[in-house]
Symmetry: C2
Subunit: 282 residues, 2 copies
């Protein structure tokens, strides 16, 4: 497990540095809007999404460099959703990763605007990826828009609003996770493929998506198990439908199935990552 | 003036229909998120930005069709900013165009998410414009991201937060308008050029930008004059720095300068539009 931990750390450092450089203005006109974005984006997070983009690209092409802008873009979309999600009209969370959340630090209006700006910036970063062809960047933008918008992450967040009020059936609970977090996780795998020159009809592309989807859902189930074991009884949890043992088996089965999909191509990284996400030692 | 009014109306109808069709899902999974977007986007607005995209494209290429997706994209960015701007943490406006604003109708969380989704969708619509080349769409996305994000409209909205608290100097007031509304207005002209195959180094491109910038600023000055004449005394208004006569002359000079920039190419549309925006008969 040492290897995957080191690899996660080293990739996270590369991504942190690349994200920083996206905000390197000589004389920014609107310092506050930049600062609020950097506050919500930098200095934390496991960068699992970026890791998937970079490592899928490395697996299929031997290089991570062309995928770095796409990895930044997906982290920007994710961070912008966290900024908005923490706001009082959403989850109303005052703390994020041990720090005051963006709206507590900068005020609600700046939190709203910085989330907006970061979401827009993700597309600007993709389109300016000059290590790849304009066709690849266009495909990346299409993937990013589809997996973020009304048929992606934001649809999942909309379902989450309803979920706060009523208990979902099992099918809907799975769907909520598939949209809210799953869509961006699969998008990460897709972006890694596009950066590696692997197209949508390639078997590798399908394998990468299957891996991401299964491991992504397993991650959410483990989240629910951890919450349950800490004594939290959430209205919408996998533990409302099964025992801890059953949920653990469900997560392990999904992990197994994800590993099996990528195994014809895997150099060990993805098997280790999947296991690591189950053990959750971070 | 009959012609330009008819032209605005007919273009607005084309855009309305195109925007509607962007949301035509056979079985939308997340009806609420779609409905909130359509509520904030459709059935109103002068569509001046879309008009500029379409008419600049027609002026330089003889056709509006290839520019329609870009016109939709810019209206989506604009409408999403209005949804977010009306929210309690921003301007806290309960009414927009005579109807309850989106957050009053759908709640704050859905207003936030629908603004986010629409901003993302704008990029999705651009990248899928199959009447134009992938290079043109990439350029359009770059323009859209630059003019919306932290160096564009959202920077202007950030300045506006400060402007609510203190009186700006004249230079900063001009800059606020140049960012808050000006950037998207110039982007409209740029997108029309790109759709027409007119590149950034072309004199036509520069003429179109100059027209848009000048007429856009004139529009804001007229806004301030109208507010002033209705008895409103805003903290940050052009009327804090000049008399109504001086402000009117300022707006007319800008309009003149805009008309003069586009005049080598104008078929009359842009002269009429500029005059119409000054008279403001809508």
């Amino acid at each position: 497990m040492l290897d995957i931990k080191e690899k996660l750390k080293s990739n996270a450092e590369i991504v942190e540095c690349a994200l920083e450089s996206c905000y390197s203005y000589a004389t920014p006109d609107f310092q506050q809007l930049i600062e609020a974005q950097k506050y919500g984006l930098l200095g934390g997070g496991k960068r699992i999404r970026a890791f998937l983009v970079l490592e899928i690209c490395r697996l299929f092409s031997g290089d991570i460099a062309p995928a770095i802008p796409y990895a930044c873009a997906i982290e920007m979309i994710h961070a912008s959703s966290l900024i908005h999600d923490d706001m009082p009209c959403m989850d109303n969370d005052d703390v994020r990763r041990g720090k005051p959340s963006t709206h507590k630090k900068f005020g609600e209006s700046l939190a709203l605007l910085s989330g907006d700006a970061m979401m827009v910036k993700a597309f600007g970063v993709c389109v300016k990826n000059n290590m790849l062809s304009v066709e690849q960047n266009a495909k990346a933008i299409e993937i990013l828009a589809n997996s973020t918008g009304e048929c992606g992450m934001l649809a999942g967040q909309t379902m989450d609003i309803d979920a706060a009020k009523k208990m979902l059936d099992f099918e809907t609970l799975v769907k909520l996770h598939q949209y809210k977090t799953g869509k961006l996780i699969s998008a990460s795998a897709k972006l890694g493929c596009i950066a590696a020159g692997v197209g949508e009809n390639d078997e590798k592309y399908l394998a990468a998506i299957k891996y991401a989807e299964n491991v992504g859902l397993a991650f959410q189930i483990i989240d629910d198990i951890l919450d349950y074991n800490e004594g939290k009884r959430e209205l919408n949890s996998f533990l409302s439908f099964m025992s801890v043992e059953e949920a653990t088996k469900y997560a392990l089965d999904l992990t197994e199935s994800g590993i099996s999909a990528i195994s014809p191509y895997d150099d060990g990284t993805f098997t280790e990552l999947a296991k690591y996400l189950i053990i959750r030692e971070f």
